[in-house]
Amino acid sequence: MIETTTETTTGPDVVELLIGQHMRIRDLFARVEESEGARRREAFADLVRMLAVHETAEELVVHPAARAAIEGGDDVVDDRLAEENHAKHLLKRLDDAGPDAPEFPDLLELLRVAVLDHASHEEQHEFRYLRRNLSPDRLAALAGAVRAAEKFAPTHPHPGAESATANLAAGPALAVFDRVKDAVRAAVGDSDR
């Protein structure tokens, strides 16, 4: 599990950061829906990168913590991972079709509903209990790892990370997920994997 110890209890905790990401994802979907042509391709790339960053942070940081800290945590996390896999499958279909395809809006709608439902389940069944069961220090430490991942997020570019971000975002959507995961692992260290 990845955790950094340099961050302390100041600033938002991990749950707050993740809820903020859910809201940004929600608004990025709206941006893709509203745009066309080159702007849509750009907005879609932003959305893919944000999804990659968010799911990476959850997979490497939040879900392992939830397995240990929540009663029935393994089952709760397994349900979330199944939802994530379903969403990734939809994302691949969407990505294969491409932003200019006629079926893109319908596929995007399927993905949007899947992602928002998944986010809502996390907030209700996972985050709420993380906050109840983990100490403020631990929540802040987890936040540090999420912030490290967030350096690759589109709406909060980190100084010096722009070129890395551009490289990460090139190519198929699922490859972006893999590269973001590697980059996050490298950035924050991987203590027990």
């Binding site: 608004d27 928002l116 907030e123």
Partner: protein, 409 residues
């Protein structure tokens, strides 16, 4: 032209019962639905909840077994209506997001009613109340950005401004000063009775909602803000329910409740932008017409009166959700510093008001101030959505670097 619910037959009661499949409605989409569709849903839920609670109170005060059975039968159907209406709200949004929608209802519904109300004393009551709901919207919007990292403009979609109203800390009046004088049931216009019932129901549902969802939050500032504004909803329910003539008989009140439901479903059927939701309003109207017929028969039997004496000849203009920005800005400009004294309104901070203020706010700032202070601390300024220029009240204008939002006293 105008619709008279007393002249239409609805769906017979024995054909109104819905099965699980029919009750299992798809919710609206939180990001694509018309904000005013969500406002209509929240309004009709409040109306149905009031209908249910009124019917329960009636049954508890009624010795006639036949009437109790009739009330129970209609009430069960109204419970199903409430389930369909409120279950149109999506489960994927937070209680706070729904709260902001509740405040949008309170602002734009109350402003519309104030504009349409013929009785000046009642108009003043709505104008007074709406400036407080307007400020609640602003406080909750700041909380929303703080704990959910999203701007309330995504919810209200620019239809309603989010700027300070009468500062929430000044809403805490002595409870005796929340009791208004009632209209006279024998002389008031029927529309005035419907307005009072509508706004009372909406505020009552808001009160119920806040008293139940407030403790679901873990963030201390959220828990505290729901307590504070929840207590103001108690004041608002007292304020609006006292406008209703207590001399109305139970039968008369039952007719008015059913008639008002017809009025609102009919209004929303005419103004609804979503075809699927419009069909629900139409179905419920056709159910309510029958509930109204039953109530009218009870009125004739037990009160010996014709329903037209209570309701008037036809429905008024449809209740419409629409922006009220200019109207609200005018009220901000002219009525921001009002409070109540007895049954009327004054501009002085009178002794009883000051005592209540000292008791609640004397030992430390109220949560409604803290939420703005904390927001400014974290984001550098308070959250506002101002689409029509600068704030009409100078003291509430530019975000000050530190301290409170409302210096008027």
């Amino acid at each position: 032209m105008s619709f008279n619910p007393l002249e239409h037959r609805g769906i017979p009661l024995d054909r109104q019962l819905r099965n699980w499949r029919e009750l299992n409605v798809d919710p609206i989409d939180p990001d694509h639905a018309d904000p005013y569709t969500r406002c209509r849903i929240i309004t009709m839920n409040g109306i149905e909840v009031e209908a249910l609670m009124f019917s329960h109170q009636f049954a508890r005060n009624c010795a006639d077994m036949d009437v109790k059975r009739q009330l129970a039968e209609v009430r069960y159907l109204e419970q199903q209506q409430q389930k369909v209406v409120n279950w149109l709200l999506p489960g994927t949004v937070s209680a706070l997001e729904t709260t902001i929608a509740y405040e949008q209802v309170a602002v734009d519904l109350t402003a519309w009613v104030a504009r349409m109300e013929p009785d000046p004393y009642l108009t003043q009551a709505y104008q007074f109340g709406v400036l407080e709901d307007f400020d609640h919207l602003y406080r909750y919007a700041n909380l929303y950005e703080m704990i959910q990292h999203r701007k309330a403009e995504k919810i209200v979609n620019g239809l309603t401004e989010v700027i300070p109203g009468r500062p929430t800390k000044y809403h805490h009046r002595h409870p005796a000063d929340n009791v208004r004088a009632p209209y006279d049931r024998t002389t008031t216009a029927p529309i005035s009775k419907l307005h009072a019932l509508t706004i009372m129901s909406a505020e009552q549902q808001t009160m119920n909602f806040y008293m139940n969802v407030g403790p679901q939050y873990m963030e201390p500032i959220a828990r505290q803000l729901y307590q504070e504004i929840g207590l103001i909803e108690e004041e608002h329910v007292t304020h609006y329910e006292s406008l209703v003539d207590p001399g109305e008989t139970w039968w008369e009140r039952l007719v008015l409740h059913e008639y008002n439901e017809c009025y609102l479903y009919h209004s929303f059927m005419q103004t609804e932008s979503d075809r699927r939701i419009k069909a629900i309003w139409e179905l419920h109207l056709n159910m309510e017409l029958e509930h109204l017929r039953v109530a009218c028969d009870l009125l004739r039997t037990h009160d010996g009166r014709e329903p037209e004496e209570v309701t008037g000849p036809a429905l008024p203009e449809p209740v419409t959700f629409e922006p009220n920005k200019a109207y609200l800005r005018e009220l901000l400009d002219t009525q921001i510093d009002l409070t109540t004294l007895g049954e009327g309104y004054v501009r002085d901070a009178h002794e009883r008001f000051e005592r209540m203020q000292e008791a609640l706010n004397g030992d430390g700032p109220p949560p409604s101030e803290t939420v703005i202070d904390e927001h400014r601390e974290r984001f550098g300024q308070d959250y506002r959505l101002s689409t029509e220029g600068e704030h009409p009240v100078e003291e509430l204008r530019a975000p000050q670097p530190t301290g409170t939002t409302g210096g008027q006293r």
